[in-house]
Amino acid sequence: MGLGVLENIVGKRLWRGVHVPEFKDLTCHLPIRRMPFAPMLVVPLSQHAGSPAKAIVQAGQEVVRGEPIAEADGFMSVPMHAPVTGKVDRIALAPSARGDLSPAIYIKTYASASQEILYGAPQDIEQMTGEEIVRAVQATGVVGLGGAAFPTHVKLRVPDGKRIDTVVVNGCECEPYLTADHRIMLEQPKKVLHGARVAMRAVGAERAIVGVEDNKMDAVEALKAANAGHIDIDIEAVAAKYPQGAEKMLVKVLLGREIPSRGLPSDIGVGVFNVATLAQIGDLLPNRQGLIERVVTISGPGVNKPGNYLMALGTPLRFALEFAGCTDQAASVVLGGPMMGAAIGSFDVPVTKGVTGILVFTHQAVNGKSHIFPCIHCAACVDICPMHLNPSRLGMLARKDRYEEMEADYHLTDCFECGCCSYVCPSHIPLVQYFRVAKQMNREKKAVRA
């Protein structure tokens, strides 16, 4: 392939996409610290893609840290575990990051409890079959911790008639500000690699490739050192560019394969897992424990003590932000990275399994130029769209409410809302927002017709 020659000269890289200011030096040098337990934790039953879990505890019941408190409702679901030793206060509605209310288990923390995890039993992964690993991973409640919160065990079960030859480990963390994955690779490289081998074993892949952006060379070195003497896992540094951490992009960069439109990585023999997810699997699976905490980057111009915090799932944002020294200037709070994360409307939203970061922006940072000019067809969006769409044309159609045409002729459904087009648009047209609306309108129209 012609591109292969070029690749030898310039290294593996994403050709489209954008260079976004990173702001990672606010937190990338700070070791992971544990955050204290909030007096009341809120564990939503739906914090993953798929069916919500079913609560198996009642109000007033005492729970031990690590104990299952909700069970998976079918294969496309995961259980929940008590993030703290305490007492179930109630099962009631709680605000979610999406802005609506969803059922959650409120647990009152026992302030004097030791908070040791007493729950679990060792198991020997070497003796387990692929299907047994899938079941065991489901029991841990682990979902994609890179933000998508897709149940990991579902990805570990290879669909009939397909074969997975390569596990891709995603250590890109291409979103600005976020450094949680960086710290995990640096501090827990063995766990990441162990998790990767579990995944390889489950899907029957012979090799794995860890893709890390070259702005984290210390993480690359740490992983290489932890992998010394092994040849089944390759650690590759790729040139940093947003949105390389999107699985479609990383698979293309590392393997030169394209995931078909509306298809899955398994269609092309690949399984993609985030480093934080694998570190948790590597940690939890041997002890049959459940996912009760995760590393979250708290950063942005609105906090005085930015850092990477190991937080109990269910910690309300109010508690987390007070701990991190949120200033009075806080004007907006974003869960996830600034390119794809959602601004939340309430400080009572809890930290869930898919929260990679909590970013606090001040008025100065938020109130940028907001004057929207007409599209001048400068083609900046067309040039950077990692999916090779035509955002300019899509935006024009969206303005005219021609949503069905956007899907039928211009591949609207392939847009994964990375935000590059809105980022570069000199007219400040909120393209991604147009596309979200268009997708939703099309979904509703289909639902009406069905």
């Binding site: 004007a331 600034p338 130029k369 001048i376 067809h377 400068c378 570069v424 991604v432 979200r436």
Partner: protein, 342 residues
């Protein structure tokens, strides 16, 4: 303690590149200023008056058009300033000022505002204005004068101050042919040095191709202009011009001469690249540029006019929606065979 004040909810992305339309347009104006300065140095106060009147009439027309349609004035985005300057640069330096004002009005009122203003016009407004002037005042627009006249800073070229709708003063004695006209009608090639320094008769801002190229390069380096359109148009002229030259070197000049003469460089650098009227797809841009280069060569060599850049760009503008439609990019992961409906 977090004081539960109002928090803003906006949709992602929450970061934005430090670029905006007015900033890009302002930089295009900056890039045009050296060309204006050189034009004034070559042609004196007439060129200065020409540029002031063309820019002024364009800006005024846009402002009034916004007023009439009860919209906030859009002159602040600087795009109309570009139109005004470009219109001045593509007219002969001694062009009557009242005609220039009419050209500015035509460029902006029907050429831009009638379509809906910035972003909606199909053609490059400056060229719409010039095309109108060429049709309305064919004699005046062919009346080129020699540069570096001794009295250029103290006296206007007589035709500059012509009174509307009166017979223009006899200026035939002063007019002289541009290098392209000499090439076409008299088969006289100009010296390379004359062309390089732009010290020959021609439109006010078109004579010095290397200067125009450098000014365009500034915008390309600052990523405010698409190099692919400029490159492909120049490539088109070089390739097709070269083909003619290869077939019949006696009649058709070396492609270098073609690249350096007439309005090609200004057109390729500043007018073909007008993003509003050009394609957005990467393949489309190359096709667009090469087509414009081809049409330029065909008009220059086979048509009745000495210069074809204006019509080449206008035809390219008209084709660009079609080019866009047939060059939609292949989407990542797009399945090669489309599902056949059963």
């Amino acid at each position: 303690m977090i004081r539960s004040t109002v928090i803003e909810i906006r949709t992602s992305p929450h970061l934005h590149a430090d670029r905006s339309v007015d900033m890009i347009m302002r930089n295009v104006v900056y890039a045009l200023l050296p060309i204006c300065a050189y034009a004034v140095w070559l042609f004196g106060v007439s060129a200065l008056a020409l540029l002031i009147v063309s820019t002024g009439s364009c800006v005024l027309t846009e402002h009034i058009a916004c007023r009439i349609s009860k919209k906030e004035t859009s002159v602040g985005d600087f795009s109309v300033v570009i139109t005004g300057i470009l219109l001045g640069l593509v007219l002969p330096p001694g062009f009557p000022l009242w005609m220039t004002a009419v050209g500015g009005f035509i460029a902006v009122a029907p050429g831009k505002m009638l379509f809906g203003g910035l972003g909606f016009n199909i053609f490059n407004p400056a060229l719409v204005g010039r095309a109108f002037l060429q049709a309305a005042f064919p004699t005046a627009i062919m009346a080129y004068t020699q540069p570096l006249a001794a009295n250029r800073f103290s006296e206007f070229i007589p035709s500059t101050l012509a009174i509307p709708l009166m017979k223009a003063p006899a200026v035939a004695a002063l007019t002289s042919a541009t290098p392209l006209m000499m090439q076409k009608f008299d088969h006289v090639s100009s010296l390379a040095s004359t062309l390089l320094w732009g010290q020959h008769a021609g439109s006010a801002g078109e004579t010095c191709a290397p200067l125009v190229f450098l000014c365009g390069l500034y915008l390309i380096v600052r990523k405010m202009m698409d190099w692919r359109i400029s490159a492909s148009m120049l490539l088109g002229v070089a390739v097709f011009g070269g083909l003619f030259h290869w077939i019949n070197p006696a009649q058709y000049p070396n492609p270098w001469v073609e690249l350096l003469s007439g309005g090609l460089m200004l057109g390729a650098m500043f007018m073909a690249t007008d993003p509003v009227a050009s394609p957005v797809t990467p393949r489309g841009m190359w096709i667009y540029g090469i087509v414009m280069g081809l049409i330029t060569v065909l008009i220059r060599f086979l048509g009745g006019l000495a210069e074809g850049v204006m019509y080449a760009i206008l035809i390219g503008n008209a084709l660009s929606p079609l080019i866009d439609n047939v060059t939609q990019p292949r989407t990542y992961g797009e399945r090669k065979t489309k599902a056949v409906a059963t």
